[in-house]
């Protein structure tokens, strides 16, 4: 129970990051969170499967430092992203840019969804007009009764 209370407090406290004696890697908490957000959006080119934020590669450290410097120099988020793309191309973006070549990528899921529900709609229409199953004959009724009787004998 105590653990639950404690963790609820965690959630309460998450809004209020208390001051501490450890030096943050960046002095301005707002800049720090901007830097983290930006570096989480950029792909590390050395490891290629981590963001710059996660990677411990030298290049990642250098680029994180670059980001800090640019933030300190007053550049906007968009400027910094453009800076990276100018040097490393679209590959560095975790979020693929919206362009003519990526139209199918971004529009694809919506298209598939529409297509899927359209097919569903058509199927439902045909189901509605399908012929009903033929009724059982008296013989078949008797057979069913026998089998069901058999079933109750042996349990569910």
């Amino acid at each position: 129970m105590t653990r639950l209370l404690l963790l609820v407090m965690v959630m309460l406290a998450s809004g209020y990051a208390a001051a501490d004696t450890a030096q943050p890697t960046e002095n301005d908490p707002l800049a720090q969170s901007r830097a983290v957000k930006l570096s989480e959006q950029l792909r590390c080119l050395v490891c290629q499967n981590q963001s710059i934020a996660e990677s411990n590669a030298e290049l990642a450290l250098d680029l994180r430092r670059q980001i800090h410097e640019q933030i300190a120099a007053g550049k906007s988020d968009a400027d910094i992203v453009d800076y990276m793309v100018a040097r490393y191309g679209d590959f560095v973006l975790y979020r693929p840019p919206v362009r003519a070549t990526t139209a199918l990528l971004w529009g694809g899921p919506a298209l598939l969804l529409v297509l899927g529900f359209f097919v569903l709609y058509r199927v439902l229409r045909t189901r509605r007009t399908a012929a009903p199953l033929p009724a059982l004959t008296t013989d078949e009724h008797a057979q069913a009764a026998r089998m069901l009787g058999d079933a109750t004998e042996h349990g569910r």
Binding site: D62, Q66, R87, G89, F91
Partner: protein, 176 residues
């Protein structure tokens, strides 16, 4: 047969075709967005003569190569003999960019392995490297007479790449 039943097969075959194409591609290779654009501005101290500098404009009017290397880079050793040979042939000036390296170690390395560079410049903190979009050492750039980047070789130079891509390009650029 209901033609619609062939749709799954069609989709699969299309995907398979791409997968097949993918076998001959390298997903890790990041092409440079600098191709066709002016080389980034820089001015750095020289490795063997720290009092003097070299900048991107200094070889305007010539075609030149920028080779990114470092003393800690293992693959650089593989391509280095090719560079030395190329330098001996005196086809095109090669400028070395000593990337994120101790200048003393860089000088030692060149002394040990040969120095194909007309000169080398020191990029201690890697900033110029970032401007060039360097992400793996070694890399080599071809810069034309007006200072525009024309080609980037990712990874060590190979005899194949030199013969088939870089040297013909250099020749073509030198003519104009």
């Amino acid at each position: 047969m209901n033609k619609r039943l062939l749709v799954p097969l069609g989709i699969f075959l299309a995907i398979a075709a791409f997968l097949f194409a993918g076998l001959s591609l390298d997903p890790r290779e990041v092409p440079s967005p600098l191709i066709g654009k002016p080389a980034p501005q820089f001015r750095l101290a020289q490795l063997h003569d720290p009092g003097r500098t070299f900048g991107n404009d200094d070889l305007k009017g010539q075609v030149w190569l920028l080779n990114v290397w470092a003393s800690w880079c293992v693959s650089c050793r593989i391509e280095h003999p090719l560079l030395v040979e190329l330098a001996r042939a005196n086809v095109v000036p090669i400028i070395g960019l000593d990337y994120k390296d101790e200048p003393e170690l860089g000088r030692k390395w060149l002394a040990q392995n040969g120095d194909p560079y007309r000169l080398s410049i020191v990029d201690r903190d890697g900033r110029v490297g970032i401007d060039f979009g360097v992400y793996g050492v070694p890399e080599t750039f071809v810069v034309d007479k007006v200072g525009v980047v024309r080609y980037k070789q990712i990874g060590p130079l190979t005899a194949d790449a030199l013969e088939k891509k870089i040297l013909p390009l250099v020749r073509e650029l030198s003519k104009s």
